[in-house]
């Protein structure tokens, strides 16, 4: 079940990761599981329950199924205006 994902980072996640996007090869099944994996690896300060996910440019449930070739964006708490 190995898949290749494109992950994009914005705002505090971009700064903590030190880059805007990367390709990952993973067996992780869901956005939440992937975030926890990345959080451990990169010491993201935001807990998973404060981060939403978008898959291929649409908001997605945290337990959505990730598929090979998906683009995943993790969305920190928004603060427009």
């Amino acid at each position: 079940m190995t898949k290749t994902l494109a992950v994009q980072y914005f705002a505090i996640l971009r700064e903590q990761r030190g880059l805007s996007s990367e390709n990952l090869v993973t067996v992780t099944a869901t956005p939440t599981a992937l975030y926890e994996e990345l959080r451990t690896r990169h010491a993201f300060t935001l807990p998973a329950n404060r981060v939403r996910a978008a898959i291929n440019g649409e908001f997605a449930p945290s337990d959505a199924e990730l598929r090979d070739g998906d683009t995943v964006v993790f969305i920190p708490p928004v603060a427009g205006g």
């Binding site: 914005f10 908001f59 427009g80």
Partner: protein
């Protein structure tokens, strides 16, 4: 009708884009970068957006406002980039035959934009510190 813009907002052109002879009311909201927040002196603000999803979500909000209120036109733009004090970060404009709908829809749009659209704000303080708003994970030291 909802755009993310790296360029300064042009309220004259934006309002002109809403011109409609059926409209008797035009209500606009502009969010300005102000010099303090939560008691701290602000030096400048950085805005960052996930533009494709921001424009899609913003467009949904405008559609919702058109469905809920007797609106003729509605548009909104959010800035990205590094903004100085007094610059406009967001503009919302609504036209309607009558003013009640224009006020209510404009308020609805800015409330929803702030709650839902993937835009992030980093405050630069006068003392040189910075912080991503809403992203603190522990209380600041007293």
């Amino acid at each position: 009708m909802f755009r993310i813009s790296a360029e300064p907002l042009d309220p004259v052109a934006l309002e002109a884009g809403l011109k409609d002879l059926r409209a008797g009311a035009c209500v606009t909201f502009t969010g300005w970068v102000r010099d303090s927040n939560d008691g701290r002196n602000i030096f400048s603000l950085e805005y960052e957006a996930f533009a494709p999803l921001a424009e899609k979500e913003g467009g949904s909000i405008l559609d919702e406002a058109r469905a809920k209120f007797a609106v003729i036109g509605a548009a909104a733009v959010h800035r990205t980039g590094h903004l100085q004090l007094g610059e406009s970060a967001v503009w919302v404009g609504v036209t309607a035959a009558h003013r009640a709908a224009a006020f209510e829809a404009c308020r609805y749009i800015i409330d929803e934009v702030k709650a839902r659209v993937p835009v992030w704000k980093k405050e630069h303080y006068a003392d040189g510190e910075t912080a991503w708003i809403n992203c603190a994970t522990q209380s600041p030291v007293a």
